[in-house]
Symmetry: C2
Subunit: 411 residues, 2 copies
């Protein structure tokens, strides 16, 4: 099946919002084996809407629209889709009651223009998609093997409606089921990963392998489309084993989890208390880990010892060490961790010192130089890293990933 | 002038990347008074590219394309634009030298396919746009009052090229100049802001006023298009005065700066040392402030005292206070700040305790309850906030904004 995505909204043409709906829909459709031929964004202009829909239908079997389902005069996507498909809209009492109920629950009065949202395709022309996150229902128009699916614009409402109603609808249209695993990887670049997996990627039919890259991390998606879920899952898992043989240790999740979640889960499961001392990351390691709900059961103390004075006073780093080796040195990192261990007694103690830039670098100690030292139950590891000096914030974020990765390998 | 934006790249149709280029370009074009009629995204398909470009040119005077300028066989945007415009490409020696230089500098060898990037419009057909952030130059084809501007896909390269070369080009095409100010506001919701400014917004011609909302913050853009920069700036500044009369204190920047940058700049200018103690934000306040380069001159120490034990040991919060009022209470926040002041002597001391959720809330102390206490040179302010419990991370980020806002008003 081929598809096209039509986003309706003047705010998109003004650049006031980023179109994340197309990203979400493109991913979902591709996962299901539905080709996405193109995306188009237009304003609230009824003539243009019709024109674009007609043109798209010449080429694809499925159009998904987002936006323009609301109560205002400008919201005309559903009306134009009905016209293009030659379908009629009728006032749907059940949907109207639901909209009224929504206003009652949120303590507001429903104005007359909201009734418009309950005009929806008659049973013979299509399907009504309930909106469980807002007022405007969505709908599907079907005719002659073609379909237009109209979804609301706000991403939270749109994704909810897609998961609850559109996904089962599209699945019912195909005899195949899709299963996939997203492998998350740290420590390998995208091009390196591609060449490592080249043999597996070349000549792939099913399962397919695709690589994704974002901010210093890479992912591998292994997808299979088969007659049953069992078949698809078995095919994916066999391929994952092959991938594992090649990149093994660098995979930290087989289920698309963030590294911080993997590490937090392990710490909580094993009941390992943790404390940290940060210089260049300035609290970002603690802030990242504390982003995980429930972490309070293991996270004990964090220190942002940005100044030399703070390193001495809080962690007992020796003045001579700072003088002789400098704040950014393995010796300082080592003493930071030792001091942290002494002070907190946490089973996992990790500290970091480095140069985040853009200022402060020297030839000997350039921007991006980072030392990380961890102590896990007396087992100590200290490493030097030369992080690519993309920007201050990139260096800090990447350093946090290095810290999480070190802990993940040690525990 | 009317325009359309064409994004080329199969990765966009797969949902592998979010299209931020269209957001950036739409904002820039609208600011300049150039209408954006629609966005379209297609894959690396030469026939479709030509088809779309022809269709767009029937309707607009300017097409901006992004993507498809690279060295591979698939990269054909420039070639198709030349064909559609009836222009020729020639090998540009200067561009070729620059590409070679780029490879030399980054220590890689240039493969033969990279030469393709130096085939660019001849002088009579267009303009070459140097790429100062990558290898692929951009270009402008001009004919019969229409233009196609081809820009690279990677956002960093694209925005750099736009600022350096496209902006001056487009400005030279119009007799008007645009001046705008972006006012950043904290503490007022978008709909409240709109009703406060309704009288100014209604019937606006020039300057225009537009409001933007993102993650708990709102912005107001005041834009004027006049014959000279002086006229435009004067008109904007007069309107800004009117806006100021209405929302006054809530404006923290008149030049689109982040609150963290405003606060960091003030601290650095005044030489005010700062330390912080965080519970629910877990290091995010320190991490946010330390995101600003140069902050090491004033940032002294940060404590992540997530557990009660840490609050007692590091900040001297009394055991009885924690027992009697709980960790999330004004009393605890007050003692955290007092302890922090005693320990660090920093001129600005700020601490926070709260419930970030999703677990841990009670009827009496619900998720989102936050206490912030700041001491600036002995001047103490302690506030209770009920942050909207959107999500754990939203509460933490919003709390950091509340902390920055408190400091900004106190110093």
């Amino acid at each position: 099946m081929r598809s096209a995505i039509l986003s309706v909204g003047t705010e998109l043409l003004f650049g006031q919002v980023t179109n994340t709906n197309t990203v979400y829909l493109s991913q979902k459709l591709n996962f299901m084996g539905i080709d996405v031929m193109h995306h188009e964004t237009i304003g609230d202009n009824p003539e243009r809407m019709k024109q674009v829909m007609h043109r798209m239908l010449d080429e694809v079997e499925l159009i998904i629209t987002t936006g323009g389902l609301g109560p205002t005069q400008d919201d005309l996507t559903k009306e134009m889709a009905a016209e293009v498909m030659g379908c009629e809209l009728k006032l749907d009492q059940a949907s109207l009651e639901k909209i009224k109920g929504y206003f009652d629950r949120t303590g507001r009065t429903m104005t007359e223009n909201n009734v418009k949202q309950a005009w929806l395709p008659a049973k013979e022309d299509g399907i009504i998609l309930p909106n469980n996150g807002g007022t405007a229902p969505g709908c599907i128009f079907e005719k002659n093997g073609k379909a237009i699916i109209c979804l609301p614009g706000p991403p939270r409402e749109m994704t909810k409606m897609f998961e609850e109603s559109v996904l089962p609808y599209l699945q019912s249209k195909t005899n195949d089921v899709i299963f996939y695993r997203m492998l998350r990887i740290f420590g390998i670049g995208e091009s390196q990963l591609e060449s490592m997996l080249e043999e597996l990627i070349t000549g792939q039919t099913d399962p397919t392998i695709a690589t994704y890259a974002k901010e210093g991390e890479v992912s591998v998606r292994v997808t299979s489309k088969r007659k049953t879920m069992e078949e698809a899952a078995a095919a994916v898992d066999a391929m994952v084993e092959d991938v594992k043989k090649i990149i093994g240790d660098s995979i930290y999740s087989y289920d698309d989890e963030d590294l911080k979640d993997v590490v937090a889960k392990k710490l909580m499961e094993k009941g390992l208390s943790i404390s940290c001392a940060e210089s260049c990351t300035g609290g970002l390691f603690a802030a990242t880990l504390i982003g995980v709900d429930g972490i309070s059961s293991v996270f004990e103390r964090g220190f942002v010892t940005y100044s030399n004075e703070a390193k001495e006073a809080e962690l007992g780093v020796r003045h001579e060490t700072l003088e002789k080796f400098g704040a950014v040195s393995e010796e300082t990192a080592r003493e930071m961790t030792a001091g942290l261990k002494k002070k907190t007694g946490s089973r996992v103690c990790i500290s970091v010192t480095g140069i985040a830039g853009p200022s402060g670098g020297t030839e000997e100690k350039p921007v991006g130089l980072v030392y990380i030292c961890a102590d896990v139950d007396g087992n100590i590891m200290c490493n030097e890293y030369k992080v690519r000096p993309v920007s201050r914030n990139w260096i800090r974020s990447y350093t946090v990933m290095l810290m999480l990765n070190m802990i993940n390998r040690m525990i």
